[in-house]
């Protein structure tokens, strides 16, 4: 690999760090029905996006799979249009329709060419104001979702994610629970329709519109929202305390790799230590070249990837580190993960490494904000957490203020080895030491 050196002086170019990341404020209108509509105009692109966000995530459901079945069947037929007609219209306009759901929220998003904005909204009306959840469509949905879940539950990483949630929150906790795929067969149309009635109301909704959204278009949107039902279920009681298990393990015959997770419940984003812990997680496994990647991938070749992150919910949050490794090195990989966590508790992170992590986190925010729609995603997340878009600039300042001492303090406070849950899903490790097997119970 030796080629002739070139004469030009190839010293490293100077780097400039953006001082401030400006996130435009979303303009807020409140409709007569009480729905907040946030607009982020960027007319240059010729495309528009509208996201409807509902307090309708899976932690609100009483019946397994009901919340996801509801959001996934919104477009399966209204009084005026069949499922096929809705799909054909949206496809004809080239409009993109997507739904997503997490434990707390569901999001229904439309993206369209400017010229089809009004027509797309006409279809959105059928989807959001008048879904009928036809029996036969729901049956098809349940059959194929059951199948898809069974496929997912043959993947060690998927199984580890479910087992981890159960192990840190408890199997009956709204943030920890997962259900038997067979329960799809018992889900009834009435349960889905009732969940829609209770949760897809003006009182549970906010809207973020971005891209080519003129004042006239916002008026059309507000008129549409005026028709949305009000009321519904907007309050709920306290959740049970999380009930964590120290170690959980599941053996999967024939698996080539083990999926590993280490972590614990912590707190929602509003907590004073959240951003600090986000920096801790980033140092550990939040980027390519992080300590976990260095250790498990670059030095040992145990894995293709290793990660650590903070995850936030409405009422909680958790810290997790995860990887998938070749089965024979499972024990050592776990030891290395604990070693890297321990190092955060014992040693100060070198200033150079921390500086890089700060820059990575700044760059990440800039990348999310690129293009007309990224800013909509950031806005949605800020509103969900009870903030406006000034949060993002403040977030960057908080990240910049984190010191090596603070990282060690936070790691000592929150990443106490005895308080961490460990999850292993992979081939049977019959030869392992007994201690672990006993803890598994």
């Amino acid at each position: 690999m030796k080629r002739n050196d070139t004469s030009f002086d190839r010293t490293r170019p100077a780097v400039r760090i953006p001082k401030r990341i400006a996130v435009p404020t979303a303009e807020r209108h409140v409709t007569a029905g009480g729905v907040s509509v946030y607009t982020l105009p960027a007319p240059e692109y010729g495309v528009a996006r509208v996201s409807f966000v509902f307090r309708a995530g899976s932690s609100w459901q009483q019946v397994p799979f009901c919340a996801s079945a509801t959001v996934n069947n919104l477009a399966e037929g209204s009084r005026n249009m069949t499922s096929l007609q809705i799909a054909e219209r949206l496809d004809y306009y080239g409009s993109y329709f997507d739904v997503s759901i997490d434990r707390d929220w569901s999001v229904v998003t439309f993206v369209c060419l400017s010229k089809y904005f009004d027509r797309t909204l006409e279809i959105a009306r059928e989807i959001l104001l008048d879904p009928q959840f036809p029996e036969e469509e729901l049956a098809v949905y349940c059959a194929k979702s059951r199948q898809a879940l069974l496929v997912n539950r043959t993947k060690v990483d998927f199984m580890a994610r479910e087992l981890f949630a159960r192990s840190i929150y408890g199997a009956d906790h709204p943030y920890g629970t997962s259900s038997d795929a067979a329960l799809y067969d018992t889900l009834r149309r009435e349960e889905v329709a009732a969940f829609f009635r209770d949760h897809y109301t003006a009182d549970n909704c906010f809207v973020v519109a971005s891209g080519d959204v003129s004042a006239a278009r916002i008026r059309t949107l507000e008129a549409f929202l005026g028709e949305m039902a009000t009321g519904g279920v907007t309050e709920r009681g306290p959740f049970p305390e999380p009930a964590a298990t120290a170690h959980a393990e599941r053996s999967v015959e024939g698996a080539v790799q083990s999926a590993l997770r280490v972590g614990r419940t912590l707190f929602p984003r509003s907590h004073a230590d959240y951003v600090g812990m986000q920096v801790v997680a980033t140092v550990l496994g939040g980027y390519f070249g992080s300590r976990l990647v260095q250790n498990l991938r670059e030095e040992r070749g145990y894995t293709y990837g290793a990660y650590a992150a903070m995850v936030n919910f409405d009422r909680s949050g958790y810290f997790a580190a995860a990887t998938e490794v070749g089965a024979p090195v499972t024990d050592d990989a776990l030891e290395q993960m604990m070693y890297e966590i321990g190092r955060l508790r014992e040693e100060l992170v070198p200033e150079a490494e921390l500086g890089m992590v700060r820059n990575i986190m700044a760059g990440e925010v800039m990348r999310i904000l690129d293009g007309p729609f990224g800013i909509a995603d950031v806005t949605i997340e800020n509103i969900q957490n009870g903030f406006d878009n000034s949060y993002t600039a403040g977030f960057m300042e908080q990240v910049r203020a984190v010191t090596p001492e603070r990282i060690r303090t936070l790691a000592r406070r929150y990443l106490v080895p005895e308080e961490l849950t460990t999850v292993v899903v992979g081939p049977d490790r019959a030869g392992r030491n007994k201690e672990h097997n006993e803890q598994a119970k």
Partner: protein, 414 residues
């Protein structure tokens, strides 16, 4: 519409710049015209292994990732059968960092036995994670083997077996680097708020004095025409049986590419498309269906695939897929349906031009195809295709005697 300016350096490096006045970022994309197609049949998976090695440091810069990250940037790469692509996004003020890094590793890569050994095991774990430890993970290994007999598309990017990766030597690394990682074999594309002329000058500064070398010209064996149906059936511990049918089709620059693209959109472009509506919703034979083309530089594949619902027989599912393919060959699509798939293409194209990264990727890709004007010109090609032209292509290409069928039998099979 992506505007662009093009420039070629004396050493053969092609450069394309798109000016995006709205973005704070720069996307720098470096495409090398080398992929799994260029591999020695005894060293399959090597182009991809080499892509990993490109992050293992050079004589001057021992760690590639850290300077990117210190500049608030992010970088990654991917390899496919036709090309290898490296990309960096970072604040536009720091673009020179990207040029510094990419020009350095185009000539100064330094791989030690230790680095090679560590990277081999990472790639073998990737093989395990993505191909062996996933339900249906082997489908590409098996399907390519079935469709191609002599062309290097017969193996996937990850390689035929982890053994080929295990056996790679330092000499292999050296030869591959010397042959393919040359300015004349690379395309540098950038999107961001830059004056193209100023950026060309900056590229001259960093890349201009790299030795040109000889542009490689690998002659690949042409795949002979298929005349009889082919079939592989295996049994695996997967919940649903998967049926995949593939037929050979033209290359990325052929007229058939666009026809086949629209045909697969009729079958599987969105929830209103035929396979989903007929086979998942109406007849409930499949839990999931899909149709797509591979879009390779050399003649590619038209693929139709689905996972059966429990209690559906394989023959019944297979016949249903063929019914839909026959329908394409027998009856021209209705004007409304054809308009729908064309509109969808145009909208998707526009949605794909919203950030600098996608634009830089697109420019690099079309420059590799050899006709940059296609980056904005394909909509017109799709517009010009009529229903009868589509039907004729389906009749000519989607034939049993030219098909390869892969069945992965699962647990709940009837």
């Amino acid at each position: 519409m992506i505007t662009y300016a093009e420039h070629r350096l004396a050493n053969g490096l092609t450069m394309v710049v798109n000016r995006d006045r709205l973005s704070e970022l720069a996307a720098v994309n470096l495409l090398y015209r080398v992929g799994a197609r260029n591999e020695d049949p005894r060293r399959t998976g090597f182009a991809h292994l080499f892509e990993h090695l490109m992050f293992r440091g050079t004589r001057r810069i021992p760690d590639f990732d850290a300077p990117v990250q210190e500049a608030c940037g992010e970088n990654n790469a991917f390899t496919n059968n036709d090309y290898t692509d490296y990309y960096i996004t970072l604040p536009k003020d720091n673009i020179e960092t990207a040029f510094w890094l990419e020009s350095d590793r185009m000539t100064g890569l330094e791989i030690t036995p230790e680095k090679l050994a560590a990277e081999k095991s990472v790639v073998i774990e990737e093989y395990n994670q993505r191909y062996l430890n996933q339900p249906y993970g082997e489908q590409w290994l098996l399907l390519r083997e079935l469709v191609y007999r002599v062309h290097p598309y017969r193996w996937p990017t990850i390689g035929l077996t982890p053994d080929h990766v295990r056996e790679a030597t330092l000499d292999d690394v050296r030869n591959f680097y010397d042959r393919y990682y040359r300015p004349s074999n690379a395309i540098l594309s950038v999107s961001g708020d830059f004056d193209p002329e100023a950026l060309f000058a900056l590229a001259e500064r960093w890349f201009g004095d790299l030795p040109a070398g000889e542009a490689p010209h690998d002659v690949l064996p042409a795949e002979p025409e298929q005349t009889a149906p082919r079939r592989t059936e295996i049994r695996r511990d997967v919940p649903a049986t998967q049926i995949t049918v593939a037929c050979p089709m033209g290359d990325r620059r052929s007229a058939d590419y666009y026809r086949c693209d629209l045909l697969t959109d009729l079958l599987a472009g969105g929830t209103s498309a035929r396979l989903y509506q007929e086979l998942v919703k109406k007849r409930q034979l499949f839990a999931a269906v899909n149709a797509y083309i591979t879009g390779d530089l050399d003649p590619g594949m038209f693929v139709v695939t689905g996972q059966l619902m429990p209690d559906v027989r394989v023959e019944q599912g297979e016949e249903a897929l063929w019914q839909e393919m026959r329908r394409l060959a027998e009856t021209p699509a209705a004007p409304e349906e054809l308009e729908k798939v064309r509109n969808k293409f145009e909208a998707n194209m526009l949605y794909g031009e919203l950030n600098v990264m996608n634009k830089a990727l697109n420019l690099g890709y079309y420059a590799m195809l050899g006709d940059l004007s296609l980056v904005n010109g394909e909509a017109a090609i799709y517009r010009a295709i009529g229903a009868e032209e589509l039907r004729e292509a389906a009749e000519r290409l989607l034939r049993r005697e030219k098909s390869s069928t892969l069945i992965i039998h699962g647990g709940h099979e009837a």
